[in-house]
């Protein structure tokens, strides 16, 4: 099984380093042909306006939409969340986000927090991060900071507004790998899939 990593701009190399530690293979995606046969897709951190422009000129908007509709698992981190939210090229996650919600870089920070998918606290690296202001009622919340959802799973989608890939990836990389290994059936429930 091969996971594609959208590699037009952003921290795709960090995602690759994390995924290489799992049992799955990975491939950088820059053209529609690179999507052939992939079992999952990572949309990395980066600048969402730049990535948005590049996915359009690279002819990737529709082919990626096809993948999502076929229930292939997709993981968006930071900018990747923005691209899967309302206003993005793939408005499929049923979420609304406020971009760069915490202000300029001097407010970027690392927070230790508990997730529902691992024992103990893990470091969450927020860099000019977006804030999820509205999410589907039936989404599984994987991590919350105060009132804010910062990681969720909904159907075949995994969204993290922070950067697990800058802190070794775990537990999120393994969680996504398990989504890829046993994807939800089309139209089926996402709980415990």
């Amino acid at each position: 099984m091969v996971i594609g990593i959208l590699a037009l701009q952003g921290d795709y190399a960090e995602h690759r380093s994390c995924l290489e530690k799992t049992a799955l293979g990975c491939r950088l995606v820059r053209t529609p042909a690179d999507l052939d046969g992939i079992a999952g897709l990572v949309i990395p951190g980066g600048e969402s306006t730049a990535i948005k422009r590049l996915v359009a000129s690279s002819g990737l908007v529709e082919p990626v939409m096809d993948l999502i509709e076929r229930c292939i698992p997709v993981w968006g981190t930071c900018a990747g969340v923005v691209l899967l939210a309302k206003g993005g090229p793939w408005d499929v996650a049923g979420v609304r986000v406020e971009r760069n919600a915490y202000g300029p870089q001097v407010y970027s920070r690392v927070v230790m927090a508990r997730t529902s998918i691992a024992e103990g606290d893990v470091p969450l690296v927020f860099i000019r991060a977006p804030r999820i202001v509205d999410a589907p009622r039936d989404a599984s919340v994987l991590c919350r900071l105060g009132d804010e959802i910062v990681a969720l799973r909904w159907k075949n989608l995994l969204l993290t507004t922070f950067h697990p890939e800058l802190a070794g990836g775990e537990p999120f990389t393994s969680y996504f790998a398990s989504m890829v290994a046993s994807p939800p059936r089309r139209g089926g429930s996402m709980e415990g899939a």
Binding site: G10, R53, V106, I127, L166
Partner: protein
């Protein structure tokens, strides 16, 4: 702990810029053109380097009013330049909450002996380097990102090529040597030993390395990516060309698809006149900005 976290988020922001193009802009309209073209960040300036070069005199930090206007106009990160060693200009830009500071040889140096102690700031810094020793000195001072110096404001890529090749050559050498050779090599290239040890442990520079200084065409940008640049700064090249919006977008495409020459060919077509430029060969040392700071 707090210091380690700053290092992680500041080096991390540079990582988010990888594969992207950072464009010099002098007003709100240019900033919007850059953002629409797919720039990952803009550098807010009063004048592009070619015009700084032509004007002569002392070049200082940009007027805060211009920086704030550009910050207001775009959602991508905003960078601004300070003079080498001018920590007060840096404090001012930090107070303005810019996203990145470029301690730059393009401005007139304020200190010929010392660079800014960048570890004392929350905001990240990018610095120019001509070889690995210079890059390692800047990293040890706290730079979160490195770029080649090139020769800014010329539209001539030759110096950026020289500096990127030098960094890669020195890196290959460092990674290929045995442990006992490292202290002597550190002394030879004037680098702190612990920075070289960190580079060897990671097998690469611990921060992102971009190309800058003289990049004026999509092919220039793609060339630098092939030489090891993880992205490019384009200073004077875009807004001194005939069709800035098209050229800006073409350079963004060329960096993202640098491994596909046919793609670069397509985006290079019909761009109109590029920056006229200045041949660096024959330029006297006093005009060479890359010789500022070491």
């Amino acid at each position: 702990m707090e210091q380690d976290d700053r290092v992680m988020v500041n080096r991390g922001l540079a990582t988010m810029l990888v594969g992207g193009v950072i464009m010099d802009v002098t007003n709100v309209e240019q900033a919007r053109i850059a953002e629409d073209a797919g720039a990952v960040a803009v550098m807010a300036l009063e004048r592009v380097p070619a015009h700084i070069r032509a004007a002569g005199g002392v070049a200082r930090m940009t007027d805060p009013e211009i920086v704030l206007g550009i910050k207001e106009a775009v959602s991508i990160p905003v960078m601004a330049k300070v003079r080498i060693g001018h920590f007060m200009e840096a404090r001012v830009l930090e107070a303005l909450e810019v996203d990145f500071i470029d301690e730059s040889e393009v401005l007139t140096p304020a200190d010929e002996e010392h660079h800014i102690d960048k570890r004392a700031f929350r905001v990240p810094f990018v610095c120019g380097a001509r070889d690995l020793g210079e890059a390692a000195r800047r990293i040890s001072e706290g730079a979160s990102m490195i770029r080649t110096k090139g020769e800014a404001g010329t539209g001539d890529v030759v110096e950026a090529v020289r500096h990127m090749r030098a960094v890669q050559r020195d890196l290959d050498r460092l990674l290929g040597m045995s442990d006992e050779e490292v202290p002597a090599y550190a002394e030879t290239i004037g680098s702190p030993l612990d920075t070289l040890i960190e580079i060897r442990r990671q097998g690469r520079l611990p921060v992102v390395n971009f190309a800058a200084g003289g990049i004026a065409s999509p092919a220039d940008a793609a060339l630098m990516v092939h030489l090891g640049a993880q992205g490019v700064f384009v200073g004077s090249g875009i807004f001194t060309s005939e069709n800035p919006p098209r050229l800006a977008h073409a350079i963004v495409e060329a960096v993202a698809h640098a491994d596909d020459p046919a793609w670069v060919a397509r985006v290079s077509s019909g761009l109109g006149a590029l920056m006229h430029g200045i041949d660096v060969r024959g330029m006297p040392d006093k005009d060479r900005l890359a010789l500022r700071g070491r």
